[in-house]
């Protein structure tokens, strides 16, 4: 009987400690990313469609961000830019601009990318209506956001790896409910 109680108590403690660890990691990442510095790094992107018989789309480029500014310059001249509440999307020859004060869909997308890259995890969880957990995985912090409920839009899961050394983003996989996913990898 005593053994059983001890095991249960240990399990509860472990759970509590994990929860505390998760909150601490999230707080650490947010704090490390709260400065106003400009970050600029190379990245690669892989988009996998829901229909696995279709080909993946791969691109790479340089991203740059600072508060309220986010830019992804692709080597194929594509562009993804968020500046002054305007989202500019250049895919091939076509360029589209969206007013983020009016367009809810694009605002959601832009917030997701910005919050994830800039380590604003609490805001990311609210934006995605997701449960958030964080844990240590070797030299990285693994942050997982799982949607609280199944929905026809948005992401079922977002998994982000941050470097332990500087809490900067290392990689991110965004899984949509449809089965499509996008993977970002940052090269240091």
């Amino acid at each position: 009987m005593k053994k059983i109680i001890a095991i249960i108590a240990a399990a509860l403690c472990a759970l509590t400690m994990n929860a505390q660890d998760s909150a601490q990691i999230i707080s650490k990442i947010e704090k490390a990313n709260s400065s106003s510095r400009t970050v600029r790094e190379n990245f690669s992107e892989v988009m996998t469609p829901a229909d696995k018989s279709l080909k993946q789309k791969k691109r790479e480029g340089v991203f740059e961000y600072k508060p309220d500014y986010f830019r992804m310059d692709y080597t194929n001249n594509d562009l993804f830019l968020i500046e002054n509440n305007v989202m500019t999307l250049k895919n091939g020859a076509a360029t589209q601009k969206f007013d983020l004060t009016k367009n809810l869909m694009m605002k959601g997308l832009s917030n997701t990318l910005m919050y994830a890259f800039q380590g604003q995890l609490t805001k990311l969880a609210v934006e995605q209506n997701a449960d958030i957990t964080a844990s240590r995985d070797g030299n990285f912090y693994l942050v997982t956001l799982k949607a609280k409920k199944k929905a026809p839009r948005g992401y079922s899961q977002i998994v982000v790896y941050y470097r332990v050394s500087d809490c900067m983003i290392n990689s991110m996989r965004m899984d949509e409910f449809t089965g499509a996913s996008t993977y970002y990898s940052i090269a240091k």
């Binding site: 469609p49 229909d51 009016k102 809810l104 199944k150 929905a151 026809p152 409910f177 449809t178 499509a180």
Partner: protein, 795 residues
């Protein structure tokens, strides 16, 4: 009273400094407070609430949807394409907003952008099941066939998203359904009752329209709305009053100067009226602080009554050199006239209408102030000795006045017959309680309204209703009940159609039922069958090129979890569009529905629709109809009380029942004659021109008092002097008043015009009765020895 004014005259004459001191200081004090009074130009705001409007306790001033301005652009030649007209609308709005330095425009809405459509799609993906009523599923089930999907995929069942009732979309721009008129809706940042800001915004819009049309001659730009109507109305009232009363006053000045041959006469006329006016305004400021601008306008008639007292005293001085004699002979009839006229006006104080009360109080105070000045101050400006006058003019006037109208049998018989006929017909006169009919509409405004009604409403009258509650969900529920009522009315053909947000604003409880129905409908088997159909179409029509995986998206939508959402809070619908359907103000939440109906059935439909709980008509005049009826009923009672009061005063003053009856005759008869003539000529009374009836009373009894005074003096002292003086003054008074009131028939504003017509009829009949019937009846009275002794107070 005579002794008092004579004493005052002697005292002021001996103490000029005191006289001027009292005069100047009192004028300055009254003048200062008179400038502080605020004027209200909105007639609906001056009518009290009735039981009908009190039920919902809504302040119409707070409802913003009624303030919307409708802007339209169309091609004059018809050669501009819809795209060009749409682009013109964008340019014009940009110009207008850029020049709005005072921030009077809250927002404009003229197009549905890609952003708006994406938002609707985005919202729809997360809330579609919330909006599908469970009764639709059998229909949906019947459509889940290969043939239906083939038709959709091949474009045969193209979405009718661009057809939006009376509107359509061209290149994102909102147009009338025939794509000839581009439409925009401007929401002001203030209430339509704020006529100062409204005037400024209308001015800005008019200037922008002129400039844009000059640069783009083929563009015709029109606008209308409640706010614009108020501005035009107010502007026309002021314009009409300035021009009609202004010009007529110039004419009167000329006549006075010509006949009295003295420029100082004008000052002697203007000073008492000005003093009376500032006295009245000062007291109004102390008592109320605000008064109706329309009451001031109609108050021009009161100035006419006040003018007649000035003219009586001034004219008398032309015949009598001694100032004390003038005071002695004028005090009694002037005071009596003032008292009875005040009695007629002050009856309005007992009505429930602020507009009538303002008019009554202003009239009463002005007459008191003017009368006091005429008897206490004016004589100080007279010089002793013969007064200069145009002898020739006065001879002509005396000749006119001395014509024995009362001895001309055909004239008397004709007057009697006309009186009888009009008195009989007087009970048929109509009272128009629709305040919309006494408002003014500028022609360009009417054109804009007509185009909108034709192109958008299909020439049906559009009436808006609001379901209201303290929270949005309850307002949506009440809106459901309203739409159910409208549905049944449409079913029996009582209304043409209605449009609202019943389909998109759904109560939370109903959304949950819809979500449950969705879950129940999309069984795994049905999902799988539909998914396979979509996959087949996706492959056949290459849907992957759209970037959307439609079959997977469908599957996701069918299997996802949903919960009730507030479309209002989702931020999906642009604010400039949403405010046409939902409003939140101090009174709570309102959900609006527009109904197209036959205007001739408006009032009975309003009564029936508003029987639905928590539903109101978005038309304050619907509620003022009751108020106007009440004002009309009040007025009839007040008229009776005033008549009794005036008669009692006449009786006490003349101390002879027969004389009092004869003196009362012009007042009593002329009112019925006016009503009869108005009925015969198809002129209706309304809230505005019914006020002038008190004026007709006042003038009628004034003239009859002076003539009776003259007739009694004739009979007692065997001299015609007093009657000649009084009749000369009546002539000047009558001519000046007929000129002033007659000028009002040249007014464009319907209310001002109606006042002019009814006043001319009333005054003419008053004068004719005073000149013809009154002397004839007095002559008959004198034939009886008993009555003669009573009338002349011979013992």
């Amino acid at each position: 009273m005579t002794r008092l004014f004579i004493s005052l005259y002697r005292y002021f004459k001996a103490h000029k400094a005191v006289f001027y001191c009292i005069l100047v200081v009192s004028a300055l004090v009254f003048g200062y407070f008179a400038t502080k009074i605020r004027f209200e130009e909105n007639i609906a705001a001056l009518l009290p609430k009735t039981e009908k409007s009190s039920d919902c306790d809504i302040a119409f001033g707070d409802i913003r949807v009624k303030d919307k301005i409708f802007l339209q652009i169309l091609s004059r030649s018809g050669n501009m394409t819809p795209e060009e007209i749409g682009a013109s609308m964008d340019e014009f709005l940009e110009m207008l907003v850029s020049r709005d330095e005072k921030g009077l425009i809250a927002n404009t809405f003229n197009r549905i952008d890609t952003d708006d459509i994406m938002n609707i799609v985005y919202y729809g993906m997360g809330a579609l099941p919330n909006h599908i009523d469970e009764s639709y599923y059998p229909v949906i089930d019947s459509l889940l066939t290969e043939e239906t999907f083939d038709d959709i995929a091949s474009g045969n069942m193209k979405s009718k998203l661009t057809d939006l009732g009376g509107y359509t979309l061209v290149d994102g721009h909102i147009f009338s359904s025939d794509s000839t008129v581009a439409l925009a809706f401007i929401t002001p940042a203030f209430s339509s009752y704020d006529t100062w800001r409204g005037t400024y915004l209308e001015g800005l819009m008019t200037r922008c329209v002129k400039e844009y049309e000059a640069a783009h001659p083929d563009c015709e730009i029109l606008f209308h709305g409640v706010l614009i109507e108020g501005v035009f109305n107010s502007r026309q009232i002021k314009k009409d009053i300035y021009w009609t009363v202004g010009i007529s006053l110039l004419l009167i000045c000329f006549i006075i100067c010509f006949c009295f041959k003295s420029k100082s006469t004008l000052l002697h006329i203007v000073l008492p009226i000005a003093y009376g006016t500032i006295f009245a305004l000062a007291i109004m400021y102390w008592v109320k602080g605000v008064m109706s601008f329309m009451a001031i306008g109609i108050g021009a008639l009161i100035m006419g009554a006040a003018l007649s007292y000035c003219l009586h005293v001034l004219t008398h001085h032309k015949f009598v050199d001694d100032v004390e004699t003038v005071i002695k002979e004028q005090t009694r009839p002037v005071c009596l006239g003032c008292l009875t006229t005040v009695g007629a006006f002050s009856g309005l104080l007992f009505t429930t209408s602020d507009l009538l009360k303002d008019f009554g109080l202003f009239g009463t105070l002005m007459l008191l102030g003017t009368t006091f000045f005429v008897l206490a101050f004016l004589p100080q400006f007279f010089t002793e000795g013969p007064a200069e006058k145009n002898e020739k003019a006065f001879r002509v006037i005396n000749k006119i006045n001395s014509y024995p109208l009362d001895r001309n049998k055909p004239v008397v018989i004709l007057m009697a017959v006309i009186s009888l006929i009009t008195i009989i017909e007087s009970r048929n006169v109509q009272f128009d309680n629709d305040l919309n009919n006494i408002g003014y509409k500028e022609p360009v405004f009417v054109r804009s309204e007509n185009i909108y009604n034709e192109k958008v409403n299909g020439n049906w009258y559009c009436q808006y209703y609001a379901a209201h509650a303290s929270d949005l969900d309850s307002a949506i529920i009440y809106n459901r009940a309203l739409n159910a009522k409208l549905d049944s009315l449409k079913g029996i053909g009582a209304i043409h159609s209605y449009s609202g947000v019943d389909g998109i604003l759904i109560p939370f409880e109903e959304q949950q039922r819809n979500i449950d129905a969705w879950k129940e409908f999309w069984t795994p088997e049905r999902v799988s069958r539909t998914f396979n159909l979509l996959k087949k179409e996706a492959a056949e029509y290459d849907w992957s090129s759209t970037g959307f995986d439609i079959p997977e998206t469908f599957k996701l939508m069918a299997e996802s979890d949903y919960e009730p959402q507030s479309l209002y809070d989702a931020g999906v619908v642009p604010e400039a569009l949403l405010c046409n359907f939902v409003e939140n103000n101090e009174d709570g939440w309102m959900v609006f529905t527009g109904v197209l109906l036959d205007r001739s059935k408006l009032y009975e439909l309003n009564d029936e629709i508003c029987a639905t709980p928590h539903v109101i008509v978005l038309d304050p005049f619907y509620y003022t109809g009751d108020m106007v009826e009440i004002a009309h009923r009040d007025f009839n009672i007040v008229l009776l009380i005033s008549s009794i009061f005036v008669f009692l005063v006449l009786l006490l003053s003349f101390r002879s029942l027969a004389v009092a009856i004869i003196a009362f005759l012009p007042m009593g008869l002329s009112w019925y004659i006016v009503q009869g003539i108005m009925y015969i000529f198809g002129i209706q009374f309304n809230l505005v021109n019914i006020m002038i009836s008190t004026f007709i009373f006042g003038i009628g009894v004034d003239y009859s008092i002076f003539v009776m005074d003259g007739l009694i003096s004739n009979a007692r002292y065997k001299t015609h002097r007093l009657l000649i003086c009084h009749k000369a003054a009546i002539f000047f008074s009558g001519v000046t008043l007929l000129i002033v009131t007659g000028s009002l028939i040249f007014a464009t504003h319907p209310a001002i015009y109606s006042v002019g017509i009814s006043t001319i009829i009333g005054m003419t009949s008053s004068i004719l009765i005073t000149y013809a019937l009154q002397p004839m009846l007095f002559r008959l009275l004198l034939k009886s020895d008993y009555l003669r002794k009573k009338a002349l107070r011979i013992k």
